[in-house]
Symmetry: none
Subunit: 200 residues, 4 copies
């Protein structure tokens, strides 16, 4: 209570900033960066166009803040998974779980994934953000595996490969229902592949 009373303006301001980030990021994820203009963002956020520039340097800044805030949830839901007490013998179950979670996540924000991926490939900052996160995730998984007594050589590299495979798989499942392609089979193969890789 006292908290809010003490600095009501700032609290409201923070809330407003959040509102703009949310609105801006949402619209950009939905329609793309170049198909979203600041007027729309302001309207969606329920604020004036002018105020936007009191909180953000420019349109780009809004997106980047949104990315920092929501990017993890969209792209790296696994990063928060903490698994203990597993070993190579039940690793396939863990993987299945990860994949399901990841696919679900993709499905919930189809266009967001695509639009941001587009920016990863066309904008240096976004790319850097993404690859740093990916590295972080790689390390985190690496450590988890170590903690769980994975002894395989070249763990880093393998984790990297693993992430890529899961990524590809999920993208396939969510976006390209190629007829003639059995995704359950594909998933099984990928999992087996990964498990085998870590057995070496």
């Amino acid at each position: 209570m006292e908290y809010e009373v003490r600095n009501p303006k700032q609290v409201r301001a923070i809330r407003k900033k959040e509102l703009i980030i949310e609105a801006g990021f949402k619209l950009i994820c939905k329609n793309g960066y170049y198909n979203t203009n600041t007027a729309q963002v302001a309207k969606e956020a329920g604020v004036s166009t002018g105020i936007v520039y009191q909180y953000f340097k420019d349109k780009y800044d809004i997106f980047m803040e949104g990315l920092k805030k929501y990017g993890d949830d969209i792209f790296f839901p696994m990063i928060k998974i903490e698994h203990d007490n597993f070993d190579i013998s039940n690793f396939d179950i863990i993987l299945k779980e990860m994949i399901d979670k990841y696919i679900n996540n993709h499905k919930m924000s189809k266009t967001a994934h695509e639009e941001i991926t587009a920016m990863i490939h066309s904008n240096h900052d976004v790319a850097k953000y993404y690859y740093d996160k990916e590295l972080e995730m790689t390390k985190s998984i690496h450590n988890t595996l170590l903690k769980n007594n994975f002894k395989s050589k070249n763990l880093s590299e393998k984790v990297h490969i693993m992430i890529g495979m899961i990524d590809n798989l999920c993208h396939e499942v969510v976006y390209h229902q190629h007829e003639n392609m059995n995704y359950n089979v594909m998933s099984d193969i990928v999992i087996k592949n990964i498990v085998d890789m870590f057995k070496e």
Copy 2:
């Protein structure tokens, strides 16, 4: 409005159309679609802005024609590789070759790869183009493997997974020299992984 997009018959005209595609595609690949304007394209091609619209419906059309013309070479150099007389025992050599070729290719058109990949993820037509081509390549490789007596089950799925892995690997090598990551090792792992997959 009523002007038809011309289908040039004269040699000079054809050459000019090529010039524009070349210039436009090059600039877009270098700087991105939204950072390239028609004036720049015209200038780069050494023509007037007006002529551009006699050969192309709009800026987008230039890009799409460029994609159709150069896309294969950039994204699917492997599509043209014809390999015979190999079997599972020397498949690793073939793979190494493919990977090297692919990496080289990536290196030669770093930004092109990235900008087009960006569009794959944000534009429906480009996505369609890409995935159709990918499917075509999958089938082609599939057939090659059949011809060379690969008996593995679920070949389609495996080929798909293989392509994804190679793609990831090459992208990694070309764009993200993550320190602490040994790409030779990574490459070896990927190759072994693929070979093992087809042995099943």
Copy 3:
């Protein structure tokens, strides 16, 4: 694209919108629709080009709003004339009055009349606007005549013919000083003609 045409609430904004309509309509009436560009309109109104598109969908919209605002005064000044206590015996005096008013009006906005008439004949919306107004005027005059005990048959048709005759006459007087043509005489003939028509 997503910008909505603003409906200005603030007084200043309303004034500015009026300014633009006024400037745009004036220029178009003076030089013609196709010989007027938005930059000129903005300049004449003393605003930037951008603001024009916050108040109007496009150039055409400016003209149409101008037409709605000023059209009546230019084309249908008679619409507001309310005459009582006349009958067929002094109808000629009323007619003379109408004609004079109409001619004066024409003279005050010569080019406006012409440019708008041009658009009536080449643009569907403008035509519709004009003919609807004309019909409205026809009905209004019809009613006035009824109220003043005109018993002539086929009143509607006669009113229509009357309006046409007055229109022609005025146009003649204002635009085509044909030598050898006595406009006073012409006016007298027209008036007599009309009066006789209603006597039947």
Copy 4:
């Protein structure tokens, strides 16, 4: 024969010029001056764009030549009517004939009438052409009436008024099927009106 042999080029050239006039005038009459471009005209005429400027100063010139060539048929079909042996007693029959012919004519080239009328009101040259022709027709009719022993005073003025009335009537009939308006009645009134006018 010798005719053509002697100067084949010129004959062909004349034919080509006619082709362009025909095509240009037709398109402009159909779609409007500003909605017709020279490329369309050339295509419609089956010639190259370049050649157009060998025969015509500019686009405007094409239209004006078309107007001179076809304008009469469209706007002044009556001008060619030669009537003898009529007098005030059977003048109504003549008028009916004229009106029918005029209406038919209007109907055959609805858009042409409108588009050209638009230009009459927005272009000085076209206006001049039209009013000169109108005057000529007035005089011609005037003379015809004199020849047929019409003794009415102020003949010129009356003829002018008459033409205007017929014009209005026909325009009404062709373009504005106002419900609630009986055009046969209207026509009868107009004819009676005119006849009465000349009786004075």
